[in-house]
């Protein structure tokens, strides 16, 4: 069984700070980490492998240093990983990203099962998982909050979480699922895994390596374009309401009335 887990390296929310006065991002000491939801994807992949056998391969598209994310995945028990990295991938929107990931998965020999995180905390679109499933021609179920292997190991029965509760859904392999935090508790790395990760050779594949059409990757292959970005400014931020508790509450109620909320 060929299990693929897609992981994205994102800036660590804990180290990203925003300078609201200047309206910029403070970048000093920003660490890169694996997208939080992708840990749940990795855990799900490992659980299915532990039950049904097979290999788990982690795939990431990103700059060369995304290799660290793959090493961390290996320390958690993932069998192998690959970094898909090329300057030509820069500026990819989700359409170009899913094309690129699908080409890499194709080169890996296809997938019986793919896990993605529900969404990445930087781009925040939650579009890569469902989009990738179309590229791969397999069904996709998003936001799974629980899962079990179907009788005979033919597929998964999952809880697809929604606004009202959930749907219990059965899907046969090959299939793609996106994971949310309540699906599982990601395991900690193991010592043997960490040692393996240290030594592992992580292949880096370029656009040419995966046989990608240059018109469908990076900025060229991206229909959406960011016309501008800005940091929302919050005027009159931080007014401390002083006085006795009664006065503080009164002041708050006044302001909320002023804002048309009460």
């Amino acid at each position: 069984m060929n299990i693929i887990v897609c992981i994205k390296q994102v800036p660590d929310a804990a180290s990203v700070k925003w300078d609201r006065e200047k309206g910029t991002l403070i970048r000093d000491g920003v660490k890169s980490v694996i997208n939080p939801f992708d840990y749940n994807a990795i855990e799900a992949a490992l659980q299915v492998r532990d039950e049904l056998g097979g290999t788990v391969t982690a795939v990431t598209m990103g700059p060369p240093q995304a290799e660290e994310a793959i090493r961390e995945a290996i320390s958690l028990g993932v069998d192998q990983g690959v970094v898909v990295s090329d300057r030509a991938f820069a500026g990819a929107d989700t359409l170009a990203t899913t094309y690129t990931l699908s080409k890499a998965i194709e080169k890996l020999g296809g997938a019986d099962l793919v896990f993605c995180g529900k969404q990445a905390i930087d781009g925040d679109t939650a579009q890569v998982g469902p989009g990738l499933s179309v590229r791969l021609g397999i069904p996709c179920v998003t936001c799974i909050g629980d899962m079990e292997v179907l009788e005979g190991g033919k597929g998964l029965r999952v809880k697809r979480m929604n606004e009202f509760g959930y749907d219990l859904v059965e899907v046969e392999f090959p299939a793609l699922f996106t994971t949310i935090a309540s699906l599982n508790t990601p395991r900690v790395p193991s010592l043997k895994g960490k040692m393996r990760a240290k030594k592992a050779k992580i292949p880096v594949w370029t656009a040419e390596d995966i046989g990608a059409d240059p018109d469908r990757i990076g900025l060229k292959g991206s229909p959406t374009q960011v016309a501008s970005t800005y940091i929302p400014t919050f005027e009159a931020r931080k007014e401390m309401l002083e006085g006795s508790p009664e006065e503080q509450v009164e002041a708050l109620v006044e302001r909320l009335k002023g804002a048309g909320i009460l």
Partner: protein, 407 residues
């Protein structure tokens, strides 16, 4: 690709400052771009006072081809026997956009039973409704919905498709966009038409609401966007007021072949849970409990406050981990990202993992006994005080009077 014109660059230092990816630095007197970090987002080029930075984009779509795509579509999500509230909000916005373009507004409904209620979509402003109704469309299957919507779109060529960023919309719209090989912008908070080229300007938050990006899709059609519930106001459904009375509504029922209905996703059970109050994503007011609320009693009071503000209850990880409230209520990096009109945090210290999930809120009120709690850095209004006391006072002040449902 991105390039910096060394002649024009004055080394003013604006671009390294505005770059969110740390991809630009000044080397000597000129800006240098680290291509491994650059995402070609274009913010630097836009901000460069000397116009020294250019990003070349390939123009692919021919104007004539793009011109064939006309009209605005709204996906009319039909679930549990009714149209989702966000559908009406989108029809309101869609009407504006269609008028700006001088084109029709069409609602596309998919689901068993959707035909019977289709008229209501016209009341909300749709000129035309496309309905795919079949008993087999009872449980939601991503692949079937995606196939139907993308087939209709490629046949009828709308220039804009909007859908709610609900669990359903987020699940299959990206599939539709991929099938149509076009762009999709997630979770938009503003949509408008740029008159000169009919482009849809789509503004959305990223980085947990810390960054707003305006996105365009210049060379592909349709231009697709999802929008969170409650972002736009639903039009009045009253015939007289809305000016929609007497308007001709065309309802087209779509023929579905067995091929259209084939699915790899089998829904075996549907569970509608009794949610404790309104859910986070859909609420304009969120009252949040942090570690500092101290006791479960205070949580009850907090729920009561949320109730009379018609808001939802949020929680930090400490509270959900303690089992006081279910994980559905968790806000932050591993929970929900919210951006309500009013966020009230009680005993929330403001760990960054929580802040990234709520910083986009319009008004942030923080109540904490610790004057140095980081939550105050992002708060609009801060109260240093005892959580219990302030909660009780607020309850007396706000929840007095009749008509509330209580705790």
């Amino acid at each position: 690709m991105i390039s910096v014109d060394k002649e024009l660059c004055s080394g003013c230092g604006v671009c390294p400052d505005v770059c969110s990816y740390g991809a630009i630095s000044l080397v000597g007197d000129t800006a240098q771009v680290d291509l491994d970090k650059c995402t070609l987002c274009g913010t630097c080029a836009e901000n460069c006072p000397a116009d020294a930075i250019t990003i070349e984009r390939e123009e692919t779509g021919s104007a004539a081809e793009l011109d064939q795509w006309r009209g605005v579509w709204v996906f009319a999500e039909f679930r549990n026997g009714e149209y989702a509230p966000v559908v009406f909000e989108l029809l309101g916005k869609g009407r504006e956009l269609a008028d700006a373009l001088g084109e029709e507004l069409c609602a596309v409904a998919i689901g068993s039973g959707s035909r019977d209620q289709a008229e209501v979509l016209g009341n909300a402003g749709a000129d035309r409704v496309l309905v795919a109704d079949s008993p087999e469309l009872e449980g939601f299957s991503e692949d079937v919905w995606a196939r139907i919507l993308s087939r209709l779109a490629s046949e009828q060529k709308p220039e804009v498709i909007l859908a709610g960023a609900t669990s359903m919309g987020r699940a299959f719209l990206p599939q539709v966009a991929t099938m149509l090989e076009t762009g999709l912008t997630a979770d938009c908070t503003q949509l408008e038409i740029r008159a000169e080229d009919r482009a849809l300007l789509q503004t959305r938050p990223a980085f947990g609401g810390n960054l707003l990006a305006t996105i365009v899709c210049p060379n592909h059609r349709p231009q697709m966007a999802t929008v969170r519930p409650n972002v736009f106001r639903a039009p009045s459904m009253d015939f007289e007021d809305s000016g929609n009375s007497g308007r001709q509504i065309e309802i087209d029922e779509i023929e579905l072949s067995p091929e259209d209905l084939k699915s790899g996703v089998r829904v075996v059970e549907r569970k509608v849970e009794d949610l404790q109050g309104p859910d986070l994503a859909n609420s304009q007011v969120i009252v949040t409990a942090g570690r500092g609320i101290g006791s479960e009693d205070n949580l009850k009071a907090l729920e009561q406050l949320a109730n009379c503000l018609e808001g939802a209850v949020g929680a930090t990880r400490a509270i959900t981990d303690a089992g006081w409230i279910s994980h559905h209520h968790q806000i932050g990096q591993t929970g929900a990202t919210v951006a309500p009109k009013l966020y009230l945090g009680f005993g929330v210290s403001g760990a960054i993992q929580h802040l990234v999930g709520m910083q986009g809120s319009e008004i942030i009120v923080a109540v904490n006994k610790d004057p140095d709690a980081p939550i105050f850095d992002v708060a609009t209004y801060g109260i240093v005080g005892d959580v219990h006391e302030i909660l009780q006072l607020l309850l007396q002040r706000i929840c007095k009077g009749a008509g509330q449902t209580g705790g």
